[in-house]
């Protein structure tokens, strides 16, 4: 006998309502998420070249790439102009050309100050400090701002209820906040705020040039087989001391207002050498470790004290004991933002980097961690660079394995930069025509070995992925040899577009310090950019906007397309673009006025992009940085290999963005310039 018939009926009714409610929820979720059961995995391999890939596949060295090509398709992937990584990845991220996302180069020009700055992110100072004697207390913290414009495709996925994991996507520092997780990649600074500055300590400083690009060389004293020195950290925003200049003026009896400087934070370290044992003991803060000669350390925590006991800045570095005797030589990697206690926002959510650190151990967090600058500057040898590069690769591989094992997102992106960095630095071993060619039987095959390593990673991915998951392997650009450098500013000087204040100081003054802007009509800055000295935009602009501007653009375009290298009669430039004419979007007028697409074998020289004027227009490139891609974008497409059929013959990066959205049934916004290129398995 049912004592509560009414209640039971009412319960049944409640159950029905609940069932209906749940059904509605599920339906709503399905509509919201498009195809909620769909998964897409993208392996982003910076700098993988289609011709090299095909050649290594043909040699039978890349079985996993071959299998994926046979299962789906392979096409060269059209890249952006200029084909520089920040530009190309920004196009993949937003589906827009540089006119939309506003990234035209690694370096942009601030026309008001006529200075160069990083195109990817900028730091903003904290609030006005309260100064008490030598102490200074900022009223609010500083901030960093991502300069890339436009919505990322994983934000669009998030708007449809889809979760993404985006591991080290370039030009994503600080990472955008979207459902899921993200760790920043290229563009992430080291603890000093630079894109990676190594330190080198030696007791024979005179053997080295005064300045090495991308690092600092310190002189140390070797006394009783011990070296005492300091690691140089960021400036301490809590301290201030009168500048030496102010003190000097005061000492001379001049009435000046004291200017203050923030001191650099340092961490002392000691190295006890035992040449007989072929090893040395290091004491860095609380950490003690031993390295043998020619050995790399694991990650060493390095702390800088801003306010004793209360505020410390944590970082991490790797030490390489290059030589004990007869000369002491020690390389210290750029000081990384410690992922366990990041002082800048390198992940979203902010705790994710710490979580990854707990799972994987400390890892490189800076921009591009393969230390090309140390190799290019002669601080590391090619083999030492190779070892360091493989360490980075192994770290990324462990991360990939972890992310695949713990996959719970709809979209996964994992970035590898080693092929790109290796192709830049090892090309001259492979290419006998290269002016910097060096015979090394092992490194001759170095680039191929890196492709094989990537192939093994692809194999690991294919092994664990569900066959219904869309797998996309892509690169942002390909590669070409960098035989000859073009001093574009020297050419502009010779042609009368630039006038120098002191023509005898051409090579010695950087950042256009020698340019007479009142008699200069155009200048080159960055790797592919050419700017007019435009009235109203540049600080001392003289070119009138409108007809004069257009005529000058036409003139430069034609003259550069006709530019020939007198040494071999090769055309040095094969493509010229005008962003204002050829790009789309609100940022198209905020970049260079012209983009120079160099021909095969050519690239902007080392000096010209920094505002210097060497004597010759054309120079041989004899540096270890021997492969490049900052040329005519049609010559260096990237790759697209996928387990789906590619429906277009010439897909581009912008198309791939649309294709990823389409895989989830999401219609792309109107400002995306690409079209769908993948035949979906719907």
């Amino acid at each position: 006998m049912n004592l509560f018939p009414r209640l039971t009926r009412s319960r049944q009714g409640c159950h029905r309502i609940a069932q209906l409610f749940l059904a509605c929820l599920c339906l709503g979720a399905a509509v919201q998420s498009g195809a909620a059961d769909k998964k897409v995995v993208v392996l982003g391999i910076d700098g993988m070249d289609p011709k090299l890939l095909q050649s290594f596949v043909d040699q039978g060295r890349l079985p996993n790439f071959k299998a994926l090509m046979e299962e789906g398709s392979f096409r060269p992937l059209g890249t952006t102009m200029p084909p520089q990584s920040p530009v190309a990845w920004s196009t993949f991220i937003t589906g827009m050309d540089p006119g939309g996302h506003g990234i035209f180069d690694f370096l942009h020009v601030n026309p008001a100050k006529m200075s160069l700055f990083s195109s990817m992110a900028e730091a903003e100072a904290g609030g006005a400090p309260i100064d008490i004697g030598t102490w200074s207390f900022p009223t609010s913290g500083g901030d960093v701002r991502l300069l890339r414009k436009g919505e990322t495709f994983w934000e669009m996925l998030g708007d449809h209820g889809l979760k993404s994991t985006v591991f080290r996507m370039p030009v994503n520092f600080p990472p955008v906040k979207a459902p899921g997780r993200a760790l920043s990649g290229m563009g992430t600074p080291d603890i000093l705020g630079s894109l990676g500055e190594f330190s080198f300590y030696t007791n024979q400083r005179r053997d080295w040039p005064p300045v090495v690009s991308g690092g600092r060389i310190y002189s140390v004293d070797l006394k009783d087989n011990s070296v005492h020195s300091e690691l140089h950290g960021p400036t301490n925003s809590f301290r201030r001391f009168p500048s030496s200049k102010s003190l000097e003026l005061q000492r001379k009896g001049k009435a000046v207002e004291i200017e203050y400087e923030q001191p650099e934070m340092t961490q002392e370290f000691t190295v006890h050498l035992d040449p007989k044992a072929g090893a040395a003991k290091f004491v860095v803060g609380d950490t003690e470790f031993i390295l043998k000669e020619k050995e790399w350390s694991d990650w060493v925590p390095v702390e800088f004290e801003a306010i004793p006991v209360l505020i410390t800045v944590q970082s991490a570095a790797r030490f390489y004991l290059k030589q004990i005797s007869p000369t002491f030589e020690l390389y210290v990697s750029p000081l990384q933002i410690d992922p366990d206690a990041p002082v800048m926002p390198i992940s979203y959510p902010s705790s994710w980097s710490s979580h990854l650190c707990a799972e994987l151990g400390t890892f490189y967090t800076q921009n591009l961690p393969e230390d090309t600058a140390a190799y290019n500057g002669g601080v590391l040898t090619a083999r030492e660079f190779w070892e360091q590069m493989l360490y980075v690769f192994d770290e990324r591989s462990r991360a990939l394995d972890y992310l695949l094992k713990n996959q719970d997102e709809d979209f996964l992106f994992v970035y590898f930069g080693t092929v790109d960095q290796g192709s830049h630095m090892l090309w001259h071993f492979m290419d006998e025509q290269h002016p910097a060619h060096v015979k090394d039987e092992f490194l001759k095959d170095g680039i191929a070995k890196l492709y094989e390593k990537m192939d093994a990673r692809l194999g690991a991915v294919r092994q664990v992925l569900d066959p219904s998951t869309t797998l996309i392997v892509m690169s942002d650009h390909g590669f070409a040899p960098f035989y000859w450098g073009v001093n574009l500013n020297t050419w502009l000087l010779q042609k009368g577009y630039i006038t120098l204040k002191d023509p005898s100081q051409g090579t010695s003054i950087e950042s256009f310090g020698n340019v007479d802007w009142t008699r200069t009509r155009a200048y080159a800055a960055g790797l592919n950019g050419l700017y007019l000295n435009l009235k109203g935009r540049e600080k001392q602009g003289i070119v009138q906007p409108g007809a004069e501007q257009q005529a000058l653009l036409q003139e430069l375009e034609q003259e550069l397309l006709a530019l020939k290298d007198p040494r071999n009669n090769h055309s040095a430039v094969s493509l010229m673009l005008q962003p204002g004419r050829d790009f789309h979007g609100p940022e198209k007028d905020h970049g260079p006025d012209l983009l120079v697409g160099y021909s095969h074998g050519y690239r902007a020289s080392w000096d010209s992009p920094l505002g210097m004027f060497p004597k010759e227009v054309f120079v041989d490139n004899r540096s270890a940085w021997s492969g490049d891609h900052c040329i005519d974008n049609r010559l260096v497409p990237g790759i697209l290999v996928t387990n789906l059929r590619i429906t277009q013959d010439s897909p581009t990066l912008a198309d791939l963005t649309v294709a990823v959205l389409d895989e989830f049934g999401i219609k792309p916004p109107k400002d995306l310039v690409g079209k769908d290129i993948l035949e979906s398995r719907k």
Partner: protein, 279 residues
């Protein structure tokens, strides 16, 4: 003195080891909470025994009375300042009554901290990870060429470098790497002198002693797990730079010493009434 310290060390370490073992099943954080509870109760009980409870009670009562008076006469500045003076004097009297018991309590607290350090500070060397074995010699001359100094270990611990000699610190150090889970004695030989030190590689999470020393009886007190190195030995101490043992509470990393101090005080104050102790 050294032999007295040895007897104390072995006895107290054994007794504390029993207590620790009884709480070990609670896990790292659970056992620390339990030991903090026992420590807190013990401290309050000792405080009750070594302090003049009547005087403390009378002082506190007087302080409370003065505080009430302060509220009553807050409008009369002359009385207000006189009461302030009284409060200050009674506070000083209270400090006088509690200072000596506090100093006495420091001794058992130190003894407990030394034991807790043994169980919570550092753990075995993980397999595949590196550590240093750091040996301090009594005389830097031992490091001069001619005296052979060696480190011997089982195959479960790889010795990766030759000993790095640092005469200015009277030190020789080796880099080692964990190969397989094991518990054994390292042997350091300097000339004709050999000294062993317990070594732990891999295996279960447990506290280990990082230092065996013969430096001074006070240092021996701080590292009670292993017998002091005899003073006639050429070797003063052997230290293994083990990794710190992680301690977390709901995923938050914590320092065992802070956890012990906070919890033992919380438990002590919570149970002072039950124990009938005036603090």
């Amino acid at each position: 003195m050294t032999s007295l310290v040895s007897i104390y060390n072995s006895t107290f370490t054994l007794v504390f080891g029993w207590v620790y073992t009884a709480t070990k099943w609670l896990g790292a954080m659970g056992s620390l909470v339990a030991l903090s509870f026992l420590g807190g109760i013990l401290m309050v009980w000792i405080f009750g025994k070594v302090s003049n409870q009547d005087a403390i009670k009378a002082t506190r009562n007087r302080m409370n009375a003065e505080l009430i008076a302060l509220r009553l006469f807050k409008d009369d500045l002359r009385i207000f300042f006189r009461i302030q003076k009284e409060i200050l004097l009674w506070t000083l009297k209270y400090l006088k009554h509690s200072m000596i018991p506090m100093v006495i309590i420091m001794l058992p607290v130190m003894a407990i901290l030394i034991q807790l350090n043994l169980h919570y500070a550092v753990g075995p060397l993980e397999i595949g990870k590196q550590a240093l074995v750091k040996v301090i010699l009594r005389d830097a001359k031992t490091l001069e060429p001619g005296t052979e100094i060696s480190l011997q270990a089982r195959d479960s611990l790889a010795i990766e470098t030759q000993g790095v000699r640092i005469p200015e610190n009277r030190e020789i150090s080796w880099r080692v790497r964990g190969v397989a889970a094991d518990r054994f004695d390292l042997v350091v030989t300097a000339g004709k002198d050999s000294v062993s030190k317990h070594m732990a590689v891999g295996g279960a999470r447990e506290g280990v002693s990082s230092l065996r020393t013969g430096e001074h009886w006070l240092t021996n007190l701080l590292y009670p797990a292993e017998a002091p190195i005899p003073p006639e030995s050429a070797i003063e101490s052997i230290e293994v730079l083990y990794p710190a043992l992680p301690l977390s509470f709901f995923g938050w990393g914590m320092d065992w010493m802070i956890v012990f101090f906070v919890l033992s005080m919380v438990f002590g104050f919570a149970f002072k009434g039950t124990l009938g102790v005036q603090i």
